[in-house]
Symmetry: C2
Subunit: 556 residues, 2 copies
Amino acid sequence: MSKSSAFATLPGALPGLMMDRPLLVTPLLEFAAQYHGDTEIISRSVEGPIHRITYAGLWTRTQKLAHTLVALGIKPGDRVATLAWNHWRHIELYFAVAGIGAICHTINPRLSGDQMKYIIDHAEDKLLFFDLTFADAVAANCKGSPSLKARIALSDAAHKPANPVLADVLMYEDLLAAQPDLYDFPEFDENTAASLCYTSGTTGHPKGVLYSHRALTLHSYAVCTTATMGLSVHDRALPVVPMFHVNAWGLPYAAPMSGCSLVMPGAKLDGPSLFDLMDTENVTCSQGVPTVWMGLLAAMRDKGRKPKALTRVLVGGAAVSEMLIDAFEKEFGVEVNHAWGMTEMTPLGVVNTLKPRFLKQTRAEQMPQKLKQGRAIFGVDLRIVDEDGKALPHDGKSAGHLQVRGPWIVKQYLKGGESPLTADGWFDTGDIATLDPDGYMQITDRAKDVIKSGGEWISSVDLENAALGHPKIAQAAVIGMPHEKWLERPLLICVANGPDKPTLDEVNEYLVSKVPKWWLPDAIAFVEAIPLGATGKIQKTKLREQFKDFAFKSTP
Amino acid sequence: MSKSSAFATLPGALPGLMMDRPLLVTPLLEFAAQYHGDTEIISRSVEGPIHRITYAGLWTRTQKLAHTLVALGIKPGDRVATLAWNHWRHIELYFAVAGIGAICHTINPRLSGDQMKYIIDHAEDKLLFFDLTFADAVAANCKGSPSLKARIALSDAAHKPANPVLADVLMYEDLLAAQPDLYDFPEFDENTAASLCYTSGTTGHPKGVLYSHRALTLHSYAVCTTATMGLSVHDRALPVVPMFHVNAWGLPYAAPMSGCSLVMPGAKLDGPSLFDLMDTENVTCSQGVPTVWMGLLAAMRDKGRKPKALTRVLVGGAAVSEMLIDAFEKEFGVEVNHAWGMTEMTPLGVVNTLKPRFLKQTRAEQMPQKLKQGRAIFGVDLRIVDEDGKALPHDGKSAGHLQVRGPWIVKQYLKGGESPLTADGWFDTGDIATLDPDGYMQITDRAKDVIKSGGEWISSVDLENAALGHPKIAQAAVIGMPHEKWLERPLLICVANGPDKPTLDEVNEYLVSKVPKWWLPDAIAFVEAIPLGATGKIQKTKLREQFKDFAFKSTP
């Protein structure tokens, strides 16, 4: 699967005369050990205490772990599962597993037991390394898998789980202690798989994304450039985003490349715990989803200050609100940068940093720009296309299907069938987005939620946000319903803010100055509650089920 | 020459499932046109006026130039020569030539006529694009080459050279004007050659280094990381280092990746001209050799201030002095970062930025660290080995042959014979260096100049610098001379500082507190002048020729 298999040498072209050196991830840690040997990785351990180790120490332990893996029978191509928080042992697993040509499969512990069983069997995991926190889940769900040869608890003999179902569990520290300090990692094709993460799709089974050494290394360079996280030797980064979620957005690979210190929060992701760890360990930057920052914001307000060295946070996973940006930046002087990516994208696609011309504007003028997801990183090609696949202009208004292409973007799922790519090789994100003349991308809706009204699109998300401004509306969701003339028209579903429910006319009178006139909902309905998923997103599939018999009055 | 030809898939390993997308350089400019379309490239034109163009404009002209090249018969693999300063048209050539699969061969105009003829013939250049400044050199030296199909002056019809020998010269702007705006650049193997630069070796013919698209793209990512130049969208970079010298250290590729503005100095590289351009155009960072900074320093002292937005300069090509660092940093608040690379390394290998722990030190304590060449960039492996190829410790003291390895380092020269690499695949730089426990590399000598005294090495450079401190010595050079007992011993060759020449004992009494006792020269000789090369380096080959009959008294 080399590069040149897809892109032939042009007839007559000369090959360059540069060394054939593969882009592999394990040298990232070796590099940090050599050039940043005394830089610390600080972790809140699952056992309790704060744990400190240097890159040099981590490199030695990674070599011991490689010996351990080989001793347990792991061979190139084997999948090794982890069920673990963000901490030093999980980093060791990333590099040791990939270093011997095997694949580190990070399992999301929030999956249901059935899903967990499904992906372990689907990935054919040979080993399972797990944190003590998840001992019960392992006992309940990870026993009968035919591929699993051993289960290893990420702790020492003193913490062996008492559960008799886990009597055969091996203890990580005991295994490492028995192994030598030096391991001669092989060099191999950079297109070899290094890690595996399943998407938590809302429909169907989770799908496995298989990251290559090449993709992860290129992504690391990108993460260390100023256009994205600008990680540097002066940073102390705290990734709140879990290592089981798209490799913690690549930080465990990018940090050793930059010599940045890592501060790992373990299992304690609540606001006060994060505040304390950030404050004590002089964390300069942190990365996570909006709900995490809401927790930290509450802790900062409680203390009346920010964690003392914190200068910036990167927000991804869901759209960030103006309130959150304002609170962090104005109240506490912590810069908020919006970012967007996907499990299928290793994951970074765009990051929002303001160009110089926006820096001359007032905060109010800047805000619409800051709320966009951001500008593409070099390596990620973005395009927006209409229903027929025709490219749309980058005018900040035309909304189309967002498609991506690049060396760290998925071309197929593990054991996938039909290609998930378009005929011309792009991955469709399932999002609807705009691109403005400055190149900032903004997601306006999920493709399956956008309302197709007479050939024009209505963003359900924008309409919901506008409706939420009405004083009598507490919660709002908009779904497209069949319409005889317009194909689809918006139905506004609300939770009223008290007993006085607004009429459709009342709401539309309010909305008319906020959205295009043809967006105005054709009907309003009230419910007791809007169904929300685990991450707080509206479950529109449930709403569609609930309103499947609804019909607009004008429809016969 | 794909990656996987050298590094096979491990038996049993799984390929990752990421898209096969090639790393090509021309998309860098397309990216800038899309995301930084209004960012300017400002050039001091050879014709005189300051010229301004945006990345969007440059991209259109690059497409016109691609059509022009094809119309002139250029095919993939063809070499297209340039003899040009740093300006927008030279950037267009970089991207258009590489974009069609041809190779941009940047010729150093400081070469002798014979050398110029040699490399044009050796590279078999098909076209030669030249600045008006070099019209006479072209008329004199670039006519008879059998491969050359056309010569194109980088200007418009109004500036056609009058020299009748150049009557057949085509004018760049006329050619572009006739071509359409859009060119559909092909995609091809990332290992394809994109540019060519000959080393100006002191002995033998110049040797051609053929950079691949892959190497240049990876190097660009590296240049945009904080560990190297940290180029950002907020920067306005002025590369003083010429585009004919290792692609101006990669800036014409890295700037569009970062969205950084480029300010190109054209032919005016003197201190006052650089100061004016930097000051007017709000240049934030600049890159060049020490002599350039001496010129700028004089201009800054003359004006009593720095160019107003200048914050940092990168110094490479030769070792930087403590005086220069102090003058820039203490007098003017401009940070100086040492860097090192080679034509064979695309060129960056190490950059000196201080780690956090050094920032706590006083300036005096920091200085020895700042004078080192710097820390390796991820991607460049460094090692120091003894005469037998045995790796030496990274203790900051053990000096050995500096060898390098990585995806942007040469594996062979154009039409080269025997591999220039060691048996285990490293490139020997010809330098002697130390590596300290923090990973900072310091070059102590050229391998051919180091004095091998009884199995121990004496750095000729360090001994010269120490001797220069003696009040009666104006210039000093040290060469190793044959010695019966010790194999080689140092001969100190001086230009006296006036009529009173110091004795060997007098000099050694001074030196004994500054260098190891066994380094003290065994003899002293006086000359009228020390022979210096074009770049100010001591020509030790000439000295060795001059002193070939010298013998130490103790030798029979």
